[in-house]
């Protein structure tokens, strides 16, 4: 095979059952069609038969893929993607920033695919071509932060190490006499990067995630649960091969342009996603408050606790960037609180999703006995405590390796069920989960992580928990309260206010994802624009780059791919097409693996009752519901129109044979699509 540029042409397949590592070398045409990341991962999921319903998510046959793309390495905004079959039995495509992505390219790999199951806890150590499966019993059970620190010091590159040879004869006599005892020696550098799971992933919590750099998460769909099911604690990587590029000069020039334009963006550079809270969400009436019973506080003072400038003044310590990025959207914080449970805990931000999902959503911001409709009578120290609770709950999820979007949706559901007396504290092993009670949250999350008592039920996530209680209590109305789409926690963006159109959540191929792109198109009902946005975002996840830098990369993606790979015929049209392939494969995967016969009944309408029937009580969107309270307009008019625009069947949303042929994926996808039609 011709030597690839940009990508390395090699993917490591690690079989934890046999402890063997093989090298997968996809042909260049496959790289050209799928690039890497999301699209290439989905290609393997379909082409290798993991789409089959017989492959159970937690079975050794399931494959978990850590993927990067052709520009990952020295391009700005490096990210990695994990692709697998989710604990929830749909596709997992979940991305994270961090150095491990670049390091994997420097080690000479486009991805690591893990299959099988180890008989005892292990981690994978990658140093260039050398991949070892090592015992992880010393880090099993550790939090994500602790485990990662252990892994970072466990590998060294060959050019960082040799045996000690220095003697006193190499020094002046005076210096030799003064020299402190030897001991630190060679190998003091820390240039590795790692992905790890926490206790949540080890114990198979369905929404466990994979963490890197302490607080960056491949957050969604329970990738950590699948990693944990293989007895794999993490992967540590050190690469010394660099990033091979077809046209280095052009590539670095484009990179500098992207970096320079990012450096003028003081939205991200000031507060990261923390700039969203007050400035957007509360004014758009789309702030998750108390399981979405409210979308805005009647008194906007409250939202100050969770907005960038205030959080920065109160707690931001340091900013942190992904490789090559000048947006540095992540801010590390140290909690200040009068509550010793929280005081002094080090965590990140919280960023927007956490501010929403484990902040407003859990009733942390109102004073005791108040509701979000009441005026705020506290002072800035009360706001500080609200922030502390949000930060602590973020820490609780990151540290245990859990998705705080799904986790926040679950906790908020339980709190609302208690509020409505649909369940009692006795149903939660005596924990009285009241709005704003961070100690109760702490107790219940620890139960979930250990799968102890009711924790074993809650560990299956929001939707399964609602189903369990609806059945146990004989109260079917409980199913009106889970804030889930496609049976997975709805992120901190609402569809009743002015943030998102409901169709965006319904159609995004990564179930109920908030970063699917195309938002502006959906709000204007311009489906071709929405679809182009979605496809482009799926391509971002295949390159793999960050959606925060989408505007800085706009118009430069094809040029970057060309400079990286040397494919001079790769155009901006192809950029959109890669994403279209990911969408078609993802759709077919989700329907096939779940054995869905009637998508409209079993899949596409699994969205919150509240969207259509519970008007916003306060704020700029007061009285609003999604689609004027007419779900049939969404599901029977908008959705088929969207499917038609995609070239999918209007009754079931299955990609048509011609569409698959146009996309060049009929060879792998048509057999499954034909069965679905």
């Amino acid at each position: 095979m011709a030597e690839l540029k940009g990508a390395t042409g090699k993917i490591a397949r690690v079989d934890l059952t046999t402890k063997k590592v093989t090298v997968v070398e996809p042909p260049e045409e496959v790289y050209k069609k799928f690039l890497g990341g999301e699209a290439l991962g989905l290609y393997f999921m379909v082409a290798e038969g993991l789409i089959d319903p017989k492959v159970e998510p937690f079975s050794p046959q399931n494959m978990v893929q850590f993927m990067i793309g052709p520009v990952t390495g020295v391009a700005p905004n490096a990210r990695s993607v994990i692709v697998t079959k989710s604990a929830y039995n749909f596709m997992t495509v979940t991305t994270s920033g961090g150095r491990a992505a670049s390091e994997l390219k420097f080690a000479g790999w486009d991805g690591i695919q893990v299959v099988g199951k180890s008989d005892k806890p292990v981690y994978i150590a990658v140093v260039d071509d050398n991949i070892e499966i090592r015992d992880a019993s010393h880090i099993w059970g550790m939090s994500t932060e602790e485990a990662e620190l252990e892994l970072l010091k466990s590998v060294l590159a060959p050019n960082e190490y040799r045996e000690s040879i220095l003697t006193e004869a190499d020094m002046t006599p005076e210096w030799a006499a003064l020299r402190p005892p030897k001991g630190k020696g060679i190998g003091a550098k820390r240039l590795a990067a790692a992905w790890v799971i926490g206790p949540g992933g080890e114990n198979g919590v369905w929404y466990a995630n994979v963490i890197t750099e302490g607080a960056r998460a491949h957050g969604r769909y329970g990738a950590g649960a699948i990693v944990g099911s293989k007895n794999l604690k993490g992967i540590v990587i050190r690469g010394t091969k660099g990033h091979v590029l077809a046209d280095k000069g052009k590539f670095l020039q484009l990179a500098r342009e992207i970096q320079a334009s990012e450096a003028t963006n003081y939205f991200w550079r000031s507060f990261g996603t923390a700039g969203i809270g007050a400035r957007c969400a509360n004014s758009e009436d789309a702030f998750p408050i108390r399981n979405w019973q409210w979308g805005a506080w009647a008194d906007p003072t409250v939202v100050k606790a969770l907005e960038g400038p205030w959080m920065d003044a109160a707690s931001f310590v340091k900013q942190m960037a992904c490789p090559g990025c000048t947006l540095h959207c992540m801010y590390l914080t140290e909690i200040t609180s009068k509550d010793p449970l929280m005081d002094g805990v080090v965590t990140d931000m919280p960023d927007w999703e956490a501010m929403g999902q484990v902040g407003g959503n859990l009733g942390y911001c109102e004073l005791e006995g108040m509701t979000p409709s009441d005026p705020f009578t506290g002072d800035h120290w009360d706001l500080m405590e609200a922030l502390a609770k949000t930060q602590y709950t973020t820490f609780l999820h990151d540290s245990n390796g859990l998705d705080y979007i799904e986790g926040g949706a679950l906790l908020a559901l339980l709190m609302e069920l208690i509020q409505r007396n649909l369940i009692t504290p006795a149903d939660l092993d005596g924990i009285n989960l009241k709005w704003g009670d961070v100690h109760a949250v702490d107790a219940i999350v620890k139960k979930i992580v250990r799968k102890e008592g009711i924790g074993a039920v809650l560990a299956k996530g929001t939707w399964e928990t609602a189903k369990y209680f609806a059945e146990k209590k004989g109260k079917p109305e409980i199913m009106n309260y889970p804030s889930t789409g496609h049976r997975y926690g709805q992120p901190a963006h609402d569809v009743r206010g002015f943030d998102k159109d409901a169709l965006e959540y319904v159609t995004v191929v990564r179930p109920c994802e908030h970063t699917g792109g195309g938002g502006a198109g959906f709000l204007k009902k311009d489906y071709p624009a929405a679809i182009a946005g979605q496809n482009t975002q799926a391509t971002h996840n295949s390159l793999v780059i960050c959606s925060f830098a989408a505007g800085n990369w706009a118009g430069k993606i094809a040029a970057m791919v060309q400079a990286a790979t040397g494919w001079t015929d790769f155009t901006e049209d192809d950029v959109v097409k890669v994403g279209a392939r990911a969408y078609a494969l993802g759709r077919i995967f989700n329907l096939t693996t779940q054995g869905i016969k009637d998508p409209k009944k079993e899949w596409d309408t699994l969205f919150p009752h509240r969207w259509f029937y519970d008007p916003l009580p306060t704020g700029s969107g007061k009285g609003r519901v999604a689609y004027d309270g007419k779900p049939e307009v969404l599901y029977d008019e908008a959705l088929p129109a969207y499917w038609k625009t995609r070239g999918w069947s209007e009754d079931k949303g299955v990609p048509l044979a011609d569409t698959l042929k146009d996309l060049g994926i009929d060879d792998i996808a048509e057999p499954y699509a034909a069965k679905l039609r």
Binding site: L166, L178, G185, A188, V244, K318, P323, E334, V346
Partner: protein, 291 residues
């Protein structure tokens, strides 16, 4: 007294600026006044020269205008925007400076390392460098432990003569080949080496497989400022690009990485990576943590 000293230095700077005395003379006079050489070089750098080249003041300028037409205090040409950095070619190489970095501001974006790696790989391995970018060629390596970014680069340590028997850099002292040495001003390759900064002679270096003493002493007692290229495995050290450091030029975070007059013996500033991580963590988050 200090006022007299300042006045005298200002006079000398003015004379240097006008070309009445040479840079070498300036350094001599200023050090005679009791100023350290490093600080003297910094002062020399603060006295802008009339032209970037060594044209004598009596010589006719390149244009036809008579010399009196340009008063010595003339404002810079109006075409140069005051905020725009001057092109690298016009920047002055600075002697007696040090890299100062602030781990609270650094974001760990690696942009410095990419630029450094590309520059030095192109210098020594042009064929390899044309194929891509490899951070192993970088002399500056931002390193990340959770929530902490530190910059790992040579800190220009010096042994102390009265105590340790030498004023050389420790790595320089233990090199059996004499491959590590200070390249004085006027020697070396402008923009790469010289101006009184360390450099490694790759022809003399034995490489990591045979030697590695420089790395060992650095990591054992000082920092971790030596690295080895991935091809020949020969030692690499930061040369401050001969007084024009590329890393500082490309750093996107104001204040994270500075090239500033040397304040003290470099020995004082070196940190071993582990302790640097742990101290920085303790400073930022008021908590002890082992890395």
């Amino acid at each position: 007294m200090s006022q007299n000293l300042q006045e005298r230095i200002s006079e000398l700077q003015e004379q240097l600026r006008q070309g009445v005395i040479s840079r070498r003379e300036f350094l001599r006079y200023v050090t005679l006044l009791g100023v350290s050489l490093g600080a003297a070089e910094a002062l020399a750098a603060c006295a802008p020269k009339p032209t970037p080249t060594a044209v004598a003041p009596t010589a006719a300028p390149p244009t036809a205008a008579p010399p009196t037409a340009v008063p010595p205090t003339a404002a810079p040409p109006p075409t140069v925007a005051p905020t725009a950095p001057p092109p690298a070619a016009e920047k002055q190489a600075l002697a007696g400076y040090m890299l100062r970095f602030n781990p609270a501001i650094c974001t760990g974006c690696l942009i410095c390392a990419v630029a450094c790696a590309d520059k030095w790989a192109t210098e020594y391995f042009p064929e390899e460098a044309a194929k891509g970018v490899n951070l192993e060629f970088s002399r500056i390596r931002p390193m990340r432990s959770q929530y902490v970014d530190i910059i790992n680069v040579c800190q220009d340590c010096r042994l102390i003569e009265w105590a340790e028997g030498s004023t050389k850099a420790p790595c320089e002292q233990v090199c059996p080949q004499g491959a590590i040495s200070v390249v004085p001003e006027g020697q070396g390759k402008p923009g790469y080496t010289g101006m009184g900064y360390l450099n490694i002679d790759r022809d003399l270096c034995l490489g990591l497989d045979l030697c590695g003493r420089c790395l060992e002493v650095c990591e054992d007692q000082f920092g971790s400022g030596i690295s080895f290229d991935p091809i020949e495995k020969k030692a690499q050290i930061c040369t401050r690009c001969g007084g024009l450091p590329t890393c500082v030029e490309v750093c996107p975070e104001p204040g994270a990485l500075l090239f500033v007059p040397l304040q003290t013996n470099g020995r004082y500033w070196a940190h071993q990576p582990e302790e640097f991580f742990e101290l920085t963590y303790a400073k930022l988050y008021a908590e002890r943590r082992d890395v």
